[in-house]
Symmetry: C2
Subunit: 336 residues, 2 copies
């Protein structure tokens, strides 16, 4: 690694002033003879000049950095797709990404303060599962965009998965494939789940079907779903399957629930999809693709959200006015 070379170095070698070099390299609008500009540029290339980002940052008060506050990278680790595609697009704009995870009990404000100190060009808040977060008053103005979550009163632009639409579409898909008796295993307390349920109900209505309320039940005990919550999937399935009228399709709150449904259904000797179809949400590939039969599911738009967020932060795209819903994709496999 050769010693870093500065504007000064170039200026001296060429016998011009620093400001001329700076102008030639970074500021098209500064007028000067084409000759000079060319000479400067070629020497800079030859020497491998690279601007010192820190010096520039000090001068301008902004660093080419985007801060990202993440909450719960731990809970839904597969959401790291968001970070990845975000990083990918930002990189093409010479922006780096500074992450900090909030889940360990640190407040949003503290995370924000830490990021701020590096003078990022912008800060986003990304949640690892779709929910509504209560931003402290002070944080509102500092956060440009929320990804996979939204602020309580939609005061901050946000990108969220189109849960309702996904619920509608997968239900319609089931109906179109001839299923009428559709059960739904919900994720208690999660917005994602209740929106998905709304979608399901809307699809029923559209097709003049009525929902059997006994077939809408929680997948876990307790007020809010989590990976540690006590599962009641096996019991629910057992009851449904013992009843005189059985569902012919089970829609699951997410792929992990579907995983349990497979086990429960096998246990009572029910064939998928012969006797009952199973469909789900998320497309957590390591599960969905490996189940037997492979699981039909609505893929969360993590990658798309990351990409769009990147474009917004890079200034290539306008922020949504309030909340923008990004559609899921239906992944057809063999469980329906």
């Amino acid at each position: 690694m050769q010693p870093k070379i500065s504007l000064q170095d170039i200026a001296i070698r060429l016998g011009v002033s620093v400001k001329t070099v700076s102008g030639a390299l970074h500021n098209r609008s500064i007028r000067m003879s084409e000759e000079t500009r060319r000479k400067i540029r070629s020497l800079a290339d030859e020497l491998g000049y690279e601007p010192n980002l820190i010096a520039r940052g000090m001068r301008s008060g902004v660093m080419p950095i985007i801060g990202m506050i993440g909450d719960g990278l731990i809970t839904q680790p597969f959401a790291s797709e968001i970070v990845r595609s975000f990083d990918n697009v930002l990189r093409t704009h010479d922006l780096s990404i500074l992450v900090t995870d909030i889940a360990g009990g640190r407040g949003i404000e503290q995370g924000l303060a830490e990021l701020q100190r590096l003078l990022p060009r912008g800060i986003v808040y990304a949640s690892m599962y779709h929910h509504v977060v209560a931003l402290p008053a002070g944080a509102r103005g500092m956060i440009e965009l929320m990804i996979n979550c939204r602020e309580a009163d939609n005061a901050v632009p946000a990108l969220v998965p189109a849960e309702r639409q996904a619920g509608f579409n997968v239900t319609r898909y089931l109906i179109e494939r001839g299923r009428r008796d559709i059960a739904f295993l919900t994720l208690p307390g999660l917005v994602a789940s209740s929106l998905r349920e709304h979608g399901l109900r809307a699809a029923f209505e559209t097709h003049d079907l009525i929902v059997n309320e006994d077939w809408i039940r929680p997948a876990t005990r307790g007020a809010t779903y989590s990976d540690r919550a006590r599962s009641v999937v096996r019991e629910q399935i057992a009851e449904w399957m013992a009843a005189p009228q059985r569902p012919d399709a089970i829609l699951c709150g997410n792929d992990r629930v579907a995983l349990e449904v497979y086990g429960a259904l096998r246990r009572v000797g029910v064939d998928i999809p012969g006797d009952v179809a199973v469909a789900s949400f998320d497309n957590q590939v390591e599960i969905a693709a490996r189940l037997d039969p492979p699981l039909t599911t609505m893929a969360l738009p993590h990658r798309e959200m990351g990409r769009i967020a990147g474009e917004i932060l890079a200034g290539q795209r306008n922020k949504p006015d309030t909340v923008e819903e990004i559609p899921f994709r239906l992944i057809e496999r063999a469980s329906v």
Copy 2:
């Protein structure tokens, strides 16, 4: 947000020089009257002074940042535990973490160059699955530590999971629980898998058992395992279970393979753990804990590696001389 206040501001208000303030705040060894020091400190607190990191960085040529080059955040997303715990310890030392993912075809060198420009205090390389990477010559000197992977000739200090030991321990566990006929579904082409297999063989030897070579078979077709590789789990299980002598335990290359094994075993009416025990590696909780019965597995030490790496980069701990192996933890559930 109040206008940032600088050393200068404090100096003026107190009628002392900038250097005195700087010394009082950050340099214990600069001698001055206790009186002055106290006055300065209390005013700084009152005004909420925070050093300008960029200015400091420019002066010293180093920023309070650790760069992390990640490859394939996508392949093993649950490895994000590494990042999380790394971030957690670094934060307590006022260090931020700058991530960049290399998987999208960008070379290591390019990723390095981008990180370098922000003058990080150190750079680590983290892989999302355990393998040996070929670092370009230029990169050797720049990377302080490799996490979850190692350099081809161990020229760079590294932290890797103790695969062999894990293979040994889980096998011994199976043996101690009375299992003698243990089969192993390998992950072709992965170092992790072949080390785990070595461990298994060593455990057999220790207990004067001999391995049935027909019971060591790949979980996927083709030369190297991946999530997209064509699975042959169902076939292998079917053959084993149809043979006159059946295994009484199946050790799986990882939890995703175990997931398939559950399906395949159910399909042929075999009870877990009554007829055969199943054990595995990774502890991908969303799978392992939700399987029926819950899966006994060796937990990858992602969190520990992240923490240790953090301590090393924060200067709280010495770098390993070459490769340090971090032990797995046995998670006992109900499948054995």
